[in-house]
């Protein structure tokens, strides 16, 4: 087995599973702490809302397991956002609520992107990266490569930012903190460059 995909609820794990199959990787989908702890690598995907995903992780005690992991972990889209302290999603300040406390692995906030007629939200489509710090995750990927994004929330650039992308304002498109990495885009739907990024992740130890 090469990687465990954490089942954080929501639909749409299939596209990630198929992407790993195309790379010849053996992936297991699990929400069991013991399986996740013993994995050589861990993927934290996420489609849906931060509130639902955190509730699902808490119900299985994974909110305590994940921050303790020492093997390479890659959060994808919402999975990346969950690595931060807090997300405004789920009755955030704009709804008069407190948002969702997340895993607290990376110090920072996830906030809602501002919509305008020129910049519709969700941000949906193909964009390029501005790489701030090189990383094994980006090995062999050209600086002009395009990746597919679908999201309404984002993390502002910070010390944790490996790459940023501009949509109105710059936001974090790849982040890292120790063994934890996150990508705001969907590598499983980003054609050749996305496949290479996943293949690179599968070589991390």
């Amino acid at each position: 087995m090469d990687v465990v995909i954490i089942d954080s609820g929501g639909a749409n794990l299939a596209s990630l599973v198929y992407a790993l199959q195309r790379l010849g990787a053996k992936a297991v989908v699990s929400d069991e702490a013991a399986v996740i702890r013993s994995a050589p690598r861990v993927l934290l995907p996420g489609v849906g809302s931060a509130g639902n995903a955190m509730a699902r992780l808490r119900a299985k005690g994974l909110h305590e397991v994940i921050p303790q992991l020492t093997q390479p972990l890659l959060g994808i889209c919402l999975g990346m956002q969950l690595l931060f302290d807090h997300s405004d999603e789920g009755e955030g300040p704009s709804d008069g609520g407190a948002g969702t406390p997340c895993l607290g692995i990376i110090a920072g906030q996830v906030t809602r992107m501002a919509a305008s007629p020129q910049l519709p939200v969700p941000h949906m489509g193909w964009n390029q990266l501005s790489v701030q710090h090189d990383d094994p995750l980006l090995a062999g990927i050209g600086r002009e490569a395009w990746f597919y994004f679908v999201h309404s929330y984002c993390a502002a650039p910070g010390a944790y930012t490996l790459a940023e992308t501009v949509y109105g304002a710059p936001f974090t498109s790849i982040c890292s903190q120790r063994n934890f990495r996150g990508v705001q885009f969907h590598p499983e739907r980003s054609a050749g460059p996305g496949a290479r990024l996943l293949a690179n992740f599968l070589t991390l130890v």
Binding site: G10, A11, N12, L13, A14, S15, Y18, A19, Q21, R22, V47, G48, S49, A115, S116, P117, Q118, P120, V121, P122, M124, G125, W126, W146, Y148, V150, H151, S152, H186, E188, R189, S190, A191, G192, G194, A195
Partner: protein, 235 residues
């Protein structure tokens, strides 16, 4: 009625791979006779498509419930698109957005030009059942966003299938009300039609079918042309 006499366009999987290899940015699979015939989209092919496609794709056709949408998404589609069922039951948009997030929920709108403006049509996949709902297109665009649509595909019926260009007037009017991505559909006949759409800034993406299926326009050539017109494209 431009949907009459659908052309058979070959095996779905082969077509999906062909467009992937040509660097299409996204694929949409429409089963346009599903709603008029009262059935859901046939799902057996979705997982097979998901296994080979490494670009996003959306599935449309008679998705009338959260359970049906969930099955399509679990099979590997990124998004579901609803059109006629949203007109019969607008609350379905709210339910899908709440369950899966707005980013999964595309609302397709078939809009016809009238003396007063534009009105929304339903069941357009079947000439015998297609009907004018008398809903004002601009009001419906506002409503579906309030209900949680994360993307709107506007099919301008008067332009559809006649290859004389996108309906820029209607698209601009809709764009002004749109805070979610707007995909233009109906009317593409030449590369210049795509360039005019993007130059006018009245859509976030362009959808076309017949010009690609027939080979009249090759996607790589189209993208090179758009780039030469200083329109940002993924190459």
């Amino acid at each position: 009625m431009q949907f009459r006499d659908h052309r058979v366009v070959g095996d779905i999987l082969e077509l999906a791979q062909r467009y992937r290899d040509q660097d299409a940015d996204e694929l949409v699979f429409y089963d346009i006779t599903a709603s008029p015939q009262g059935r859901s989209v046939d799902r057996s092919w979705i997982a097979r498509v998901a296994q080979v496609l490494d670009i996003p794709f959306c599935v449309a056709g008679g998705i009338r419930s959260v359970a049906e949408a969930e099955a399509v998404l679990n099979a590997g589609a990124e998004k579901v698109s609803i059109n006629s069922p949203a007109l019969s039951d607008p609350g379905l948009i709210d339910q899908l957005a709440s369950r899966f997030g707005s980013q999964c929920v595309v609302v397709g709108i078939d809009s016809q030009t009238t003396a007063e403006g534009w009105s929304v049509h339903q069941f357009t996949g079947d000439p015998d059942r297609s009907r004018d709902t008398r809903r004002d297109t601009l009001q419906w665009v506002s409503e579906v966003q309030q209900r949680g649509a994360g993307e709107i595909v506007l099919n301008c019926m008067a332009s559809d299938g006649v290859r004389r260009g996108y309906d820029l007037t209607q698209l601009a009017a809709v764009r002004a009300l749109c805070r979610v991505p707007l995909v233009a559909s109906g009317g593409a006949g030449t590369p210049e039609h795509f360039a005019a759409l993007f130059a006018a800034g009245c859509a976030d993406a362009a959808l076309a079918a017949s010009v690609f299926h027939s080979g009249a326009i090759a996607i790589p050539d189209l993208k090179q042309f758009l780039k030469s017109q200083h329109i940002e494209v993924r190459l």
